[in-house]
Amino acid sequence: MKINKKELLFRMARIRKVEETIAEKYSEQEMRCPTHLSIGQELVGAAAGMILQPNDYAVSTHRGHAHYLGKGGDMNAMVAEIYGKVDGCARGRGGSMHLVDQKVGFMGTTAIVGNSIPVGVGLGLSIKMANETRVSAIFLGDGCIEEGVFYESANFSAVQNLPVVFICENNLYSVYSPLAVRQPKGRVINEMVHSLGLKTFVEEGENVEDTYNCMLDAVTFARGRNGPVFIEISAYRWREHCGPNYDNDLAYRTEEEFLDWKARDPLDTYRKSLLETGQISESELCELDEKVCAEVDAAFEFAVNSDFPDNAEAYIDEYAP
């Protein structure tokens, strides 16, 4: 299958733009919830969204904006959610860490590390039981790997041969903590996971099309009922763990490291390479940017203009009727 390259670029650019706009406006104090941006990490969500089918399931973590948008989640509803508005995808009850769009199979992001992993496996079980050909994708970070529930979930998915796609973005950090204090020296995550009984795939996230193809292979494998797969993609978070700012001044990582990754920015690199190889024209890029800007502007306008939920909504939906 050929990659729709412009579409991939568009999807990455779109995520970048939303995230940067959130960062820009966050200091206005109107988005009053913990917010974890995906800037620098747009590729995986963007590519996954093209590879997965709308009726495939997905779940994600605290850092879920890119995955939600990639999977086809409603941008207006996401921004409104962060603004705490009633048109938010969770009617303002969840905030940035609780994105959901069931129409497109995006079943939820949750705020406890590892918490959504078994849920994704359970969705995979439901697929198997119903004898369907969808897959269930689980987005997770390198830190999620450390929770026992990841291990239990991976094991179960292997025992039951479930159509589950674990997609791990290894961005080297969990909050301010480097891998060295969290995982054994020399650990290669995908190799470790391979030994748990999953078919594994790995790619450097700076290689945009290779990453796409790698993810495509993995999803195809799982969809073919060959069992669960685990994909590890390297990535780098540009801004602080939670919030809108750069924080390299805090010295938990070096400015050089950041600049090195930034220089290999998948979005920028890909944009340039498509342009240089004549696969996209300047004017197409202009158009793309305009489209992205228009969509994002509209989303913020939608969110800002959306009403707050009625206060009484805090007290409903404890139970399904």
Binding site: G94, I112, V119, L123, E152, A320
Partner: protein, 358 residues
């Protein structure tokens, strides 16, 4: 919901659970059952008998020992349209699954804006006696009763075991279904077919004048013994089997307290910060002017449970404890010694049929 009176059959509590499972899996092919040992030779004290044979290993399956993931897997399957029943041989094991139960199942609907639901049942069995000891005998229903988003069901009779389990399975919320090991072999008449008992409705097991007894699970059995014993001494009580500890049927409790003016609450868990405390608290606040005496509760001691039979003797309150408390509540001396003397088998087993290990 609850069907017109149909054929009834005598069966044990464990058989009634089994009957409910078979019924649920028959009427809805989205119901499935998983957990350690659900298809093993012992079949969870018989409660999962015949399920694998009838419904196949796709819907009835054994699992790795991994309670937290298994709970989350149930949530996912529920979101995927199924009605999972996750079976745990001991309540104590699900301490490992609290994140998924509380941060996950209980919150899912609310925190995603009410657009979805997590219809699943977690069956948890509470051990007691025969050296179950400190980590095979806890009943933390009081924890769950504190958590918005959960329903918590504690049947006493075989009839309710069936009716409440069916209602739990077909409820669209996560339900913690708590079975007391000492009830599994009790028997009674159970309606056949899709018999459901609505969640959140308590039941009067006895009606009387002198006091209101609110009891959960196995303590209803002891309360019935106590009231039988007191019959001849002229004391009668409303005995309310709570059946659900979240939500609680406050109306029935309040109605009864209005009549009797006296409250005794019986609970199968530790005393401090318990469902029993909640009931005493709420009644003291809401029925203040109805009460004619200080409300009291009888719970398990605020201690871990020991293993040796020499230490469990007297640890679990029983009918004679209840009679003694009623005596002080109604301010009348009541005979209880003959009750204690009556038991013909060791205190740490449910009956003569039992010869360990659980």
């Amino acid at each position: 919901m609850s069907m017109p009176p149909s054929k009834e059959k005598a069966m044990t509590f464990a058989e009634a659970i089994n009957d409910a499972m078979i019924e649920a899996m028959t009427v809805d092919d989205k119901v499935f059952c998983y957990g350690l040992g659900v298809d093993d030779p012992k079949r969870i004290f018989g409660t999962t008998d015949d399920l694998k044979e009838r419904f196949g290993s796709g819907r009835v399956f054994d699992v790795p020992t991994a309670e937290n993931a298994l709970m989350g897997i149930g949530i996912g399957a529920a979101l995927g349209g199924y009605r999972p029943v996750f079976v745990n041989q001991r309540f104590d094991f699900i301490l490992l699954a609290m994140d998924q139960i509380v941060n996950g199942a209980a919150k899912w609907r609310y925190m995603f804006g009410g657009q979805n639901k997590v219809p699943m049942v977690l069956r948890a069995i509470v051990g007691r006696g025969w050296g179950q000891g400190p980590t095979h005998s806890q009943c933390l229903h009081s924890w769950f009763a504190h958590i918005p988003g959960l329903k918590v069901v504690m049947p006493t009779s075989p009839r309710d075991a069936k009716g409440l389990l069916l209602a739990s399975i077909f409820d669209d919320n996560p339900v913690i279904f708590i079975e007391h090991r000492w009830l599994h072999n009790t028997s009674g008449l159970v309606p056949s077919g899709d018999y459901r008992v609505p969640l959140g409705e308590a039941e009067f097991l006895r009606e009387g004048r002198d006091l209101t007894i609110v009891a959960t699970s196995y303590m209803n059995v002891e309360a019935l013994h106590a009231m039988d014993h007191l019959d001849s001494q002229g004391i009668t009580a409303d005995l309310i089997d709570l059946r659900c500890v979240r939500p609680i049927d406050w109306d029935k409790i309040s109605l009864s307290v209005k009549k009797t003016g006296r409250l005794l609450v019986l609970d199968i868990g530790a005393s401090a910060v318990s469902v029993a405390s909640e009931i005493v608290s709420k009644v003291s606040t809401d029925n203040w002017s109805d009460l004619t005496a200080a409300p009291i509760k009888i719970c398990m001691p605020d201690k871990a449970q020991p293993t040796s039979p020499a230490l469990t003797r007297g640890f679990y309150p029983d009918a004679s404890t209840i009679v003694r408390k009623i005596s002080s509540l109604v301010g009348k001396e009541l005979e209880w010694q003959s009750l204690s003397d009556k038991q013909s088998w060791p205190h740490d087993v449910p009956g003569t049929w039992f010869n360990g290990p659980f």
